[in-house]
Amino acid sequence: MMYSDIGRLNCNISYTTFSTSIRGQGSDNKEFSAMLHKALEGSIILESFPKTTVDVFALVLESGGSDLPVIISCASLALADAGIMMYDIVSSVSVTCIGKNLIIDPTSEEEDHQDASFLISCMPSRNEVTQLTLTGEWTTAKVHEAMELCIDACSKLGDIMRSCLKEAASTLQ
């Protein structure tokens, strides 16, 4: 592999064959892996480990909707647990729009009937969005509403993740 003076991040997501209601129908992993990579790369201080690759492997045991946000948040926690230098933890939330209603953290059934979707991953303490995707038809006002809803949820999720890390650290001592 080519020499690199910053660290590399390698992400891979796989689904177990029994994770979905129809056997072996895990989502397009390649796309998900690329999304996970993009969501995380901005949060890691890659300069702190030159000539090194960090591998992130995610295995979805049971898929029940909102898979990607859960994977992103989980991977970020795992990176923190591994002691990788990061600017901030990444928390991620998705919203589904059915009719006029915004539904946060949709289940699989809700995702199947979605008219539009919105996924955001952000670093809550820095108030920075690392990844954002949107499908379906949105008005600017609706995007604004979804964005506020998600940012708020991300910061709440971030707090939970932080306290979880603290707890893990204190039990180690």
Binding site: E31, A34, Q114, T133, E137, W138, V143, M147
Partner: protein
């Protein structure tokens, strides 16, 4: 690894980098454009006779071809009243030597995913640029499968916008053959299909959105970045906007984080730029159609 880095294997000296940064900060870019100005766009339709519709779009030195093929298929079980659309992108080795072999694969998938997100709407089909129910021939039995293939012939930045424009032009050039279906007496019979090679149905492409990519260099953002400019980006947001000014898809790339308010600002700027782009594209497409029929 950011797949876009293949397209930005441009060795820039420190001086050139400063020149690009300084130019963008002063709203006068290296090629004389302002931050929110596109390069001249040229559209050619009907370039591939074998396809149902095709178009070639050139934005500066970026050159892409989109071809559309329609094949008869079976609707999926979950959505018996809808046709299917698949989008693929291929990066030709003529565009960059790195695309040889599997080199362009990562970029191709990323572009294809972004295009799907921007053009095909939500899972239920709401907000899609192309009405999937117009592709149905016999409900639950026969539908049209639309294969959209994008080919990057030459790359000088802003591939996603160019591909989006090429697909829009190709769709307006697409004729779907008229089909006569003879359903058998019992519902289990294989229906007899008669594809006309004289009568074609035109697509309604008024709902197809355009894609505007805003590339952030330093504190400012620019549209239609060349590959030199793309090599200096910290992040980029691609917004697809339809005629009604509604946002139909959005993707962000590049590692650096963005403040939520900056994103909202970029969306509104993208919306504003898209109005001009739609006008330019529409007139280019109708001019290309007119010259093709001559």
């Amino acid at each position: 690894m950011d797949p876009y880095q293949f397209t930005k294997m441009v060795g820039l000296s420190t001086g050139e980098k400063h020149f690009i940064w300084g130019g963008i900060a002063q709203d006068l870019r290296s090629d004389g454009r302002q931050r929110l100005h596109y390069r001249p766009i040229s559209v050619e339709t009907g370039v591939i006779p074998q396809a149902n519709g095709s178009a070639r779009v050139r934005i500066g030195a970026t050159d892409v071809i989109a071809s559309i093929k329609a094949e008869l298929g079976k609707p999926s079980m979950h959505q018996p009243g809808k046709g299917k659309i698949s989008i693929f992108v291929d990066c030709s080795p003529t565009a960059a030597p790195m695309f040889e072999g599997r080199g362009g694969e990562e970029l191709s998938t990323e572009l294809a995913v972004a295009l799907q997100r921007c053009l095909l709407g939500g899972k239920s089909g709401a907000g899609a640029g192309i009405d999937l129910s117009s592709l149905i021939v016999t409900e639950g039995k026969i539908c049209w499968d639309l294969y959209i293939d994008g080919l990057v012939v030459s790359s000088d930045g802003n591939l996603l916008d160019a591909l989006g424009a090429a697909i829009k032009a190709a769709l307006s050039n697409t004729g779907i053959p008229k089909v006569n279906v003879d359903l058998g007496p019992s519902p289990d019979d294989q229906p007899e299909v008669n594809v006309s090679d004289e009568e074609f149905l035109q697509f309604d492409t008024s709902g197809v959105p355009v894609i505007v990519t805003l590339t952030k260099v330093g504190r400012h953002y620019i549209v239609d970045a060349t590959s030199d400019e793309e090599s200096q980006m910290s992040s980029a947001v691609s917004v697809s906007v339809n005629r009604h000014g509604h946002i139909c898809g959005l993707t962000k790339r590049g590692g650096a984080g963005l403040d939520p308010s900056v994103i909202m600002d970029m969306i509104s700027v993208g919306k504003h730029v898209s109005e001009q782009l739609i006008t330019v594209l529409d007139s280019e497409i109708s001019a290309a159609e007119a010259s093709a029929t001559d």
